[in-house]
């Protein structure tokens, strides 16, 4: 038979931290009045109005930080990036030391920037790609995105917060990995050439900025694609595969265009124009602007897609 009487007073949803206008109290007849053709018009149901856009972004950023920082995979990727740079720097440091021992004139403080930039290009930027892909696609893969969007119907705020947190993490990864690289390299070549501290600081900040922009770019790509394999594949192509193929081309315009791809434009920027291999015919702000362009374009696509597509 019907178990209505099975209900007891054992459970009671608390009303912690709530002031007047708590929803539990405001439901009922009052809200029923909202029905009708004009029901779509905003109206204050409770005592509190909607949060301001800035406050909403701030809260969502806090939530996103908890979401990303509570995943082991986030920290694993950060650790891999730093460890990867340390190993790369050790290898390059040993090579550089060998060169210097053969010919002491080869000792050059510019090696610090050149070699850490190569570390970013070959290793760290892919860690950032994975970091952004995890942040942007993970919730789509396991459907927990519904829980996130439920309380944040303005989906653009979710994307902005996610992008912001990913970018800050990526910036930290860029700066820290540069410092790790410089430190390890110094361990090998310090007796022969000193570290130019201002130059190292610029290198760290440049790498941080570019990694942050990559995070913006790939958080956008991941949000648009909603697929981790798709995002990582596209990331590898855009950062490495496509520019290499384009540079193989005998058509000069295509060859030159390769330097506007984010991977090459980025390394040209954070290496200060001397990464040790051919990148681009262009110098100056065009490189960082190219990366910004990619990031903005990806965000526009992601934002549009997230807003119009069902989850």
């Amino acid at each position: 038979m019907r178990g209505r009487d099975g209900m007891s007073g054992t459970r009671r949803v608390g009303r912690a931290g709530r002031g007047n206008g708590a929803p539990g109290e405001e439901t009922g007849g009052a809200v029923a009045r909202g029905r009708g053709p004009g029901a779509g018009a905003p109206r204050s149901v409770g005592g509190e109005g909607p949060p301001r856009a800035g406050a909403e972004l701030l809260r969502e950023t806090g939530a996103e930080w908890v979401r990303q920082s509570s995943l082991r995979s986030t920290w694993a990727v950060v650790a891999v990036a730093l460890a990867g740079m340390a190993v790369f720097a050790a290898l390059m440091g040993y090579t550089e030391l060998t060169r210097i021992l053969e010919n002491p004139d080869e000792a050059d403080s510019a090696a610090f920037m050149r070699l850490t930039s190569q570390g970013h290009y070959y290793l760290v930027q892919f860690a950032v790609l994975v970091l952004a892909a995890l942040a942007s696609t993970g919730e789509f893969a396991n459907h927990s995105v519904t829980s996130t969007l439920l309380w944040r119907p303005r989906r653009g705020v979710v994307l902005a917060a996610r992008t912001l947190v990913s970018a800050v993490l990526a910036f930290a990864v860029g700066v820290l990995s540069t410092l790790v690289g410089v430190t390890v390299l110094a361990g090998f070549v310090a007796p022969y050439t000193g570290v130019d501290v201002p130059e190292a600081a610029v290198a760290a900040l440049s790498a941080g900025l570019c990694m942050a922009l990559f995070a913006v770019l790939f958080t956008g790509v991941g949000t648009a694609l909603r697929s981790m394999p798709g995002t990582i594949t596209l990331g590898f192509l855009v950062l490495l595969g496509l520019p290499m193929v384009m540079q193989l081309s005998q058509v000069q315009a295509i060859n030159d265009a390769a330097s506007l791809m984010p991977g090459l434009a980025g390394v040209e920027f954070y290496a200060g124009g001397d990464v040790g291999f051919y990148t681009a015919p262009y110098d100056g702000p065009v490189n960082i602007l190219a990366v910004v362009g990619w990031a903005v374009a990806a965000q526009i696509v992601a934002r549009t897609e997230l807003r119009v597509r069902d989850v």
């Binding site: 178990g3 209505r4 099975g6 209900m7 007891s8 007073g9 459970r11 009671r12 949803v13 608390g14 009303r15 912690a16 931290g17 708590a22 929803p23 539990g24 109290e25 439901t27 009922g28 809200v31 029923a32 009045r33 909202g34 029905r35 009708g36 029901a39 779509g40 905003p42 109206r43 149901v45 409770g46 509190e48 109005g49 909607p50 809260r59 969502e60 806090g62 939530a63 996103e64 908890v66 979401r67 509570s70 995943l71 082991r72 995979s73 993970g138 919730e139 396991n142 459907h143 927990s144 519904t146 829980s147 969007l149 439920l150 309380w151 944040r152 119907p153 303005r154 069902d310 989850v311």
Partner: protein
């Protein structure tokens, strides 16, 4: 308060939801009942702003979801056991939501305790059982202390203890004046918790009425009697009084009724069906009154003893006699069976198998509304 008006959601050529209209009022549990694929989850997702409707509107507290001022304080939802990232702990999941909504963190402790996950709150959700994940989903829904709650198949994966807990919780939330909207394909569960039922099939509204009305309207308590002398018995019963009504079991109940007879008296259905309609063992036969094998009669308005006495007085042999209780399950099979009749051969087969599975016991009770015979012939 939930208001759905003329809601349609189209996916390609098919309609997941087709012109659905209903309301769910505060202070009661509104059951959202329908078979798998009836459009229940889609309707819920439209209500929550996760899916855009093709036409019509779905309002929570009188507004489109996107326009709610503070959805975290107004609506809580359990949509699936996958609400939390498997790599995150229950505490981290809820903390993230609390931070995002500006809810004090101590509220996280409260809801964790309330759903019984306080001891395992730092374990990763990926290691949780299905029941534990459902509980976390409930904690998630309750976190903002909302006035409107939507639970999509909440008892899936719960053990008996969990089912009872969920039932009490659902009833308790409604008793506190909240709007509680619970979907299920389990009619037995709905019977235990719902005050009001919205029944859907193939995206369309089939019934929107209080639970008791649904049962009363669609299933009626009666006495099922089988007799080789059914004609004589029927004559006698029809003279028993103005409140007494007699129906042939297979006369208007279609395939479902035949299935019921088969379930009631193993062997008989197969025997008669085998002669009359080869390959359709579930079908009873209407022409049994003139002697031969026993035919079934449904007698409304009399008790089992009275029917037995009348049979005795009429000199009619009785091969079977029992009371058929009304149940939501019966009503549900009839209701959704009708909806399925609109559709494909596959749907007809599904209905037939439902009738033959044993749950169709007495499914023909609501015979008048049931199309005749199509379920059987679809076989």
């Amino acid at each position: 308060m939930i208001t759905v008006r003329d809601l349609t959601k189209r996916y390609g050529r098919g309609k997941a939801v087709d012109g659905l209209t209903f309301t769910a009022e505060p202070g009661r549990v509104t059951g959202f009942l329908g078979p798998n694929g009836a459009g229940k989850s889609t309707t819920m997702r439209v209500l929550l702003g996760l899916v855009r409707p093709t036409s019509g509107e779905a309002l929570v507290n009188g507004r489109v979801y996107e326009r709610l001022a503070r959805p975290s304080r107004e609506v809580g939802a359990l949509l699936s056991p996958d609400a939390a990232h498997p790599g995150r702990s229950a505490r981290a999941h809820l903390t993230a939501k609390a931070v995002g909504a500006g809810i004090p963190r101590r509220r996280v402790d409260e809801v964790l305790g309330e759903v019984g996950l306080a001891e395992v709150d730092r374990r990763r959700v990926g290691g949780y059982s299905l029941g534990m994940r459902q509980r976390l989903g409930v904690a998630d829904a309750l976190l903002g202390d909302p006035g409107v709650l939507l639970f999509d198949e909440p008892v899936n994966g719960l053990d008996l203890d969990g089912v009872r807990w969920m039932r009490d919780l659902t009833r308790g939330l409604a008793a506190e004046g909240r709007t509680v909207f619970v979907s299920s394909h389990l009619m037995s569960e709905m019977e235990m918790v719902a005050d009001h039922l919205v029944v859907v099939g193939r995206g369309r509204l089939i019934a929107d009425a209080p639970l008791d009305d649904v049962i009363a309207a669609w299933s009626r308590k009666h006495v099922l009697v089988h007799s080789p002398d059914a004609g004589r018995l029927r004559e006698r019963l029809e003279k028993a009084g103005p409140g007494v009504r007699v129906e042939d079991v297979s006369g208007d109940g279609g395939g479902g009724a035949g299935g019921a007879v088969g379930a009631e008296r193993p062997g008989e259905g197969e025997g008669t069906g085998g002669e009359a309609v080869p390959g359709a063992p579930g079908r009873g036969r209407a022409a049994g009154e003139r002697g031969g094998p026993a035919a079934g009669l449904r007698v409304f308005g009399l008790g089992a003893e009275e029917v037995g006495d009348h049979a005795h007085a009429a000199g009619a042999r009785v091969h079977g006699l029992r009371v058929v209780e009304a149940s939501l399950e019966q009503a549900y099979l009839e209701l959704t069976g009708d909806a399925v009749e609109y559709g494909s051969r596959a749907a007809g087969t599904a209905r037939r198998s439902a009738g033959a599975s044993g749950t169709g016991n007495g499914a023909g009770a609501a015979g008048p509304a049931s199309p005749v015979g199509t379920g059987g012939t679809a076989a």
